[in-house]
């Protein structure tokens, strides 16, 4: 087991508002980690900094002991919480794009998943429903053999029936040495696949623990604990 990601005193301010507040975090390889917190807790801000879409105000962020940059982007596969692809393009065009830019992209795996979900590669994204677009994005992200998958709300926009399939896609398509960081507030749906959870509130880590430890120490599910911790 090796350290993939390390944040030290990581902070992000937007004007006078602090979205991420001196976070210290270490993600090891071979884990599925749930990044859990209420809306506006700083989950997406943290994820965007990991992917180089936001610059930290202070603190450090390292992926495999290197700052976020070209090298980290080769090994981190990122699913944003909204559609970010060119809507005029066909799925096959986007697969070619990913194949060209990401050395770890497995084209055969992508086409296989598309077939299983009955999505035609020749369809343009703009003709698809919101849920189908999200499935396509997830397929693209999970078709990479990355070291770290960062998934921001991967099941928020799809129907409950498709959630099981998506979770199955996530579970069956990552290397054992890789880690997955999943941000969501639909905890009950993903609880069974998580190894660890990080509770985040007001930009600070409230709790970081393994799921087994929570169950043993608290005698309750992560979902129940989350509802208690973040009770309004």
């Amino acid at each position: 087991m090796s350290t993939l990601l390390e944040c030290r005193e990581l902070t992000k301010n937007f004007g006078d508002k602090t979205a991420v507040d001196h976070i210290n975090l270490c993600i090891e390889s071979g884990h599925i980690i749930g990044l859990l917190g209420p809306n506006g807790s700083g989950k997406t801000t943290l994820i965007k900094m990991i992917n180089g879409l936001l610059t930290p105000s202070s603190g450090t962020l390292y992926f495999k002991e290197n700052p976020i940059g070209v090298e980290s982007k080769k090994h981190i596969s990122y699913l944003p919480d909204h559609t970010y692809l060119n809507m005029n393009e066909r799925v096959s065009d986007i697969i070619d794009f990913f194949t060209d830019f990401y050395e770890d992209f497995d084209k055969a795996r992508a086409y296989d998943m598309l077939e299983k979900l009955s999505i035609s590669p020749s369809d343009r994204l703009k003709t698809m429903s919101k849920g189908t677009k999200e499935k396509v994005q997830l397929i693209l992200v999970m078709s990479r053999r990355a070291d770290l998958y960062v998934l921001d709300e991967p099941i928020a926009g799809v129907d409950p029936a498709a959630r099981d399939y998506i979770l199955n896609v996530i579970l069956t398509n990552y290397e054992p040495s890789a880690s997955i960081l999943i941000s969501t507030h639909l905890i009950a749906d993903i609880e069974n696949i998580l190894d660890e959870v990080i509770f985040i509130q007001n930009g600070q880590i409230r709790l970081s623990s393994s799921v087994d430890d929570i169950r043993a120490a608290e005698g309750k599910s992560v979902d129940t604990l989350f509802r208690e911790v973040f009770k309004c």
Binding site: F14, K48, L53, T55, V70, K73, Y78, Y84, F101
Partner: protein, 276 residues
């Protein structure tokens, strides 16, 4: 990776640009038909005159609009792929910020220059149609020697000077908008409005600075001297000097400003990316 970036940047911009050029060609053909039919007819009926004037006005407006569309499209494309939703993909590609910026700049410059080239070809086609092909029979060697005799400057040197000035102007105005967009994305809200305001501020700042430089460098005094001197022969004989004196500072100024814009744009993209 750079080759791949170029490939996809061309691919994502080519569709609209080729449509623009097809419209440009159609407008040119219509203009040529109007010119040729006017040149072939000897009567000056008011209806014909009206048709020719209408065709010419449409031609000028059409060509001008198409050129503006090229520029605006390049600016919008930059903003969309860098700082809106599609920026998420652009900035998570395993390529350097330099590569992304260079490719976007060079591809935009390529389309701008293509538009200018097509504009010149279009005007030439119109002149050829109006002169019923007489322009092709022109004695170019006589023209070149006459040009040199009256201006004291080789025609090739003039074209080269203008070419450099045009490329640099395109580069400058593309970089100005790219920088405005980069400044605009720094804001938490109303990023597009902030980009537009930044663009307006940069444009006026640039105009003020260039005016100050022109006054300081004696350009205005030079222009006054020329207007005071009514002798055409004197003005023409000084053409070469005046031309060089005007364009050289413009070229140097464009280079300096372009470098400043590029550095600002690059620094913001690398150090202050803010895809909230």
């Amino acid at each position: 990776m750079l080759r791949k970036l170029f490939k996809y940047e061309f691919k994502s911009t080519a569709r609209l640009m080729l449509m623009i050029y097809a419209i440009m060609a159609a407008v040119t053909v219509l203009g040529c038909i109007a010119m040729a039919s006017s040149a072939m007819q000897s009567d000056d009926s008011p209806v014909r005159e009206f048709f020719v004037i209408l065709a010419m006005v449409s031609y000028v407006l059409g060509i001008f609009a198409l050129f503006i569309v090229t520029y605006v499209y390049m600016c919008v494309h930059f903003y969309r792929t860098m700082y809106s939703d599609r920026g998420y993909l652009t900035h998570t590609l395993p390529v350097s910020h330099h590569s992304i910026l260079n490719v976007k700049l060079l591809v935009s410059l390529f389309w701008m220059l293509c538009s200018i080239l097509l504009l010149l070809l279009s005007v030439f086609a119109l002149i050829a149609a109006a002169s019923r092909g007489a322009v092709f029979q022109m004695d170019f060697s006589y023209f070149l020697s006459e040009f040199y005799r009256t201006s004291g400057m080789h025609f090739g040197a003039l074209i080269l000077y203008l070419l450099v000035a045009i490329i640099l102007s395109c580069l400058l105005y593309l970089l100005m908008v790219f920088t405005s967009a980069s400044i605009g994305q720094l804001f938490s809200q109303h990023k597009v409005a902030a980009s537009v305001i930044a663009g307006v501020v940069l444009y006026f700042a640039e105009q003020i600075i260039s005016t100050i430089i022109m006054v300081a460098s004696g350009y205005v005094m030079l222009m006054n001297d020329i207007s005071a001197d009514t002798s055409a022969v004197s003005a023409v004989s000084e053409f070469s000097d005046i031309f060089t004196m005007l364009l050289t500072p413009t070229i140097i100024y464009s280079v300096i400003l372009s470098v400043i814009y590029y550095v600002v744009c690059y620094r913001i993209t690398k150090k202050h990316i803010n895809l909230e």
